[in-house]
């Protein structure tokens, strides 16, 4: 989701984020209920056609799907071992089709549009939830992923440089400290930008 968005003018790009999210949820439910492998194959082909409609470069599609293929490389043989190869094929097609559809949504929808539609959805809960606040929390959660990745990378590098590669504490403590410092600094930045309540 972080930085996956590919700008474009296709019908899928123009479709509202809320409609895409509802469509995604409905599609996932339908895919989960499809009983036959050939139905699942059709679902996957339709999802892949979606990438063509949105003019997403094949490289970006592969980038989105490769992680799930790694997981299936382990999960499918296990599934075949315990439930038979037919079940393994169905599970693989089911998971790949769902991930492909989710990737299609993130590739054609800005994070801000997704957050706006989540906020709009939360308004249905009336005054029990503050949509603006929830939206900021979601945005910051997404933003925190690369920040945390960078912190862990820097700490691992420092641990290697100091020759204490086996020590878990040498990772956990500095990651924790730096994460808290970063959270503190981001809180201060939010206040400076007017979000002080």
């Amino acid at each position: 989701m972080i930085g996956s968005y590919r700008p474009g003018t296709s019908a899928l790009h123009r479709l509202g984020a809320g409609a895409k999210l509802v469509g995604l949820a409905a599609s996932v439910v339908v895919i989960a209920l499809l009983p036959e492998w050939w139905m699942l194959l059709i679902a996957l082909v339709l999802a892949l056609l979606g990438f063509a409609v949105a003019a997403i470069p094949p490289r970006d599609v592969v980038t989105q799907l490769v992680p799930v293929l790694w997981i299936l490389l382990v999960a499918a043989p296990l599934n075949a071992l315990f439930s038979g190869w037919e079940s393994a094929v169905e599970m693989s097609l089911r998971v790949t089709a769902c991930v492909a559809l989710a990737a299609l949504v993130t590739l054609t929808t800005r994070v801000s549009a997704i957050l706006d539609s989540v906020r709009a959805g939360l308004r249905l809960f009336g005054r029990r939830l503050d949509p603006e606040r929830v939206g900021i929390v979601l945005a910051m959660t997404i933003r925190a992923v690369p920040l945390m990745t960078e912190i862990v990378r820097a700490v691992l590098e420092a641990r290697r440089a100091r020759g204490v590669e086996g020590s878990l504490r040498a990772v956990a403590v500095p990651v924790m400290v730096r994460s808290l410092q970063t959270a503190d600094a981001m809180g201060e930045a939010l206040v400076a930008r007017g979000f002080d309540d």
Binding site: G3, A139, R143, L147, A185, A189, A192, D196
Partner: protein, 226 residues
């Protein structure tokens, strides 16, 4: 120009005096603040934006007490931090600039136009949909500056905005600071950055030990660190 007033301001942190009995009236267009690490210059900057409240005394921005009217003051005073990574809140460049306008309740077209202008001004238009974490250090700092200026503050306070940048990016960022229409309070270690400023303060041990033209203040600072 806006007016920033420090009235006998003292600030303590963890029982230690960080700023001691500072009284100032800042109405110049370009104000530099220099001093060693831990001298209290960042605290001085944070007091202007109300990020920290004085333990004693008052800080006023255009007559508004920052301790009592923090929100109004922060609308007038934009703050640029040393590390832009801590300042960027939203996942992409455009979204982060737009984030600054949420509290202003502008209509969507006006907000979008302001965001586009800010991105254009800082050469970020082509990077608008790029994830913020994939920008270079200089681009991140320009994004932080764009995100501050899109809200059109009267004063910009920048706390060592070039410290983490290489020489080329530092120059680029400083050039943008030099072109600002706003009143600027720049905390920096780069003495050449304040050469053309109207007024420079030297902070040492929580006190203002020199206050005057760049030549006078930088000279005093050089003597101090010799």
């Amino acid at each position: 120009m806006s007016e920033i007033v420090f009235e006998q301001v003292t600030h303590r942190y963890d029982g230690e005096v960080v700023l001691s009995d500072v009284s100032l009236r800042l109405a110049e267009r370009r104000i530099g603040v220099i001093g060693a690490n831990g001298s209290g210059k960042s605290t001085l900057a944070r007091l202007v934006n109300g990020l920290v409240a004085p333990t004693a005394g008052r800080v006023l921005v255009d007559g508004l007490d920052v301790a009592r009217h923090g929100r109004e003051v922060r609308r007038r005073v934009g703050f640029v931090f040393t590390n832009p990574d801590n300042q960027i809140v939203m996942p992409t460049v455009r979204e982060d600039v737009a984030f600054s306008l949420r509290r202003l309740r502008l209509d969507a077209a006006d907000a979008a136009a302001r965001v586009d202008r800010a991105l254009d001004r800082f050469g970020l238009a082509e990077l608008a949909d790029r994830p913020a974490h994939r920008l270079s250090g200089g681009q991140k700092q320009l994004l932080a500056l764009a995100a501050v200026l899109v809200a059109e503050p009267a004063i910009v306070v920048a706390d060592e905005p070039t410290t983490l940048l290489d020489a080329r990016n530092a120059q680029l960022v400083e050039r943008h600071f030099a072109e600002l229409d706003q009143q600027l309070v720049l905390v920096t270690h780069r003495l050449e950055s304040v050469e053309s400023f109207d007024r420079v303060l030297v902070v040492e041990g929580g006190r203002i030990v020199a206050d005057g033209s760049p030549a006078e203040a930088v000279g005093a600072y050089r003597n101090l660190i010799r």
